[in-house]
């Protein structure tokens, strides 16, 4: 029982991580994939420490690499402690990767989000978002296409109005001639007002 454990006697009624205040993980059991994740963090920390050393080496206390080196060193040490302690724990028998950590819906959504990221620039904000909303609401709900279309387009329109018109955030237009369209409405409005 090291000093790092002093907070472990808290109650864990909420182990799935739905709240950040009570994150997932069990104090005395290892979840599937936890050791691999800890190992990955250790490897990544070591690489970052190497990279931080490359910024300026041990040139000076005031070098731009000083704080990055100190922090990545802390990362390596704490990651190492986590790996050792995780390795000592027994796995949690009731859990599997596909059941508790990465169920099918999460993998599907990961795919959808990656597709969104790839399509955003060539296709443009409006078509990509419409496709994303329609696909994801359809996958999650058991409602008919009418509901899915109405909710998707309605909420997308609202988001677009708030961000594009009020906050003038220029999302990638892609294949939709947004700028011409808005100018047209602006002209219409101005002529109407004049």
């Amino acid at each position: 029982m090291g000093w790092m454990d002093h907070m472990q006697d808290q109650e864990y009624d909420n182990h799935d991580g739905t709240s950040d205040a009570t994150p997932g993980g069990y104090p005395d059991r290892r979840r599937p994939g936890e050791l691999a994740f800890a190992g990955f963090l250790l490897a990544a920390s070591l690489y970052l420490l190497y990279s931080a050393y490359g910024i300026a080496g041990f040139e000076a206390l005031s070098s731009p690499g000083a704080v990055p080196m100190a922090t990545t060193a802390v990362m390596v040490i704490s990651a190492l402690i986590v790996v050792i302690r995780t390795a000592k724990l027994h796995t949690f028998a009731n859990e599997t990767i596909s059941g508790s950590i990465l169920p099918r819906t999460v993998i599907i959504f990961t795919g959808l989000l990656i597709a969104y990221g790839l399509l955003l620039k060539p296709l443009g904000f409006l078509p990509t978002s419409a496709l994303f909303l329609i696909a994801s609401i359809r996958i999650l709900s058991d409602r008919g296409w009418g509901f899915v279309f109405a909710v998707s387009t309605g909420s997308l329109l609202l988001i677009w109005l708030v961000f594009r018109i009020i906050f003038t955030v220029l999302m990638p237009a892609g294949i939709v001639p947004e700028a011409e369209f808005i100018q047209f409405f602006r002209d219409l409005f101005q002529h109407g007002a004049a």
Binding site: T168, L170, P177, I182, F184
Partner: protein, 334 residues
Amino acid sequence: MKKFIIGAVSALVMATSAASAADYPTQEIQGIIQWGAGGSTDTVMRSVTPHAEKALGGTVIMQNMTGGVGAIALNYVEALPADGYTLLMGAENPLLYKVMGLGEKDYSDFIPISILARGTPILVANQDAPFDDYAGMMAYIKEHPGELRLGATGPGGLPSVITAMMNTVEGKLDVISVPYDGDGPALTALQGGAIDVMPAVLGASIEGIRAGNMKPLAIFDVTANEKLPDVPTITSFNDKYNDMLPWGPFFGVFVAKGTPDDIVAKLASAYAEGAKNPEFVELMDNRGFTMMGISGQEAQDFLSKWQQNTTWLLQDAGLTKASPEDFGIARPAK
């Protein structure tokens, strides 16, 4: 309703056909500001553009795009089609990107629409500093080597250029250079006594000087400034500075190279018109900026002269990563 449909359809058709300069602008124009909201570039651009919009008869949507000392914004605008629908609103820094190793592109990949105004550098000191003018500061540095804390804003910033000038004229100064991420935070630190002296742009320090929170040592110009007529010019202390002055940071609006000439002309006349607006002129005057409002060849010449002088000054002071020669920037003729 019919008119509406026709309009909507024609808007779609227009999008697909090549933009013709006669109708320019047919859509909103994007203005990318190289620096963050609330900074001087931001303030200047947001106050001149509404006047220019009126003259242009279009809409310019301004957005701040920060990062990489402005290089992120510059590369972003450069990569977009040169159709006059994206403007770069920036300051002098890109002219130093190449020699400082900060980027491969600079204003030579752009056409200046308007160089709006120029700032004047000034040397200010903490109110409790044991000297009252430039000569006093020099004497103090000689008596107390390695004691004076001089503010800086990173390589290529105004303080680094002014410091390079002082090193060139007076010989290497033995001072501590404390880095800040902008002249605002540095001037705050100056008032709190964390640094002793700061080379800053006049506009940023003028209110502090008026209130007696910091004291001016010398103005980096060949003539006295009408905003602070009592502050001596640096040339009155040492006339070697005459070779390098006047020098100062500037603000300008640019479009990517390859933009059709008539669109450039339209934009240039709109910004020239906007820069004449009395409210804007008054704002710039209050902040101690000198109006320029130049465009075309005059602006090109100004940019290349500025780049020649400054890059070689930094090169001779040993502050560059690569020689200006590598980029075909010739040493200025004496």
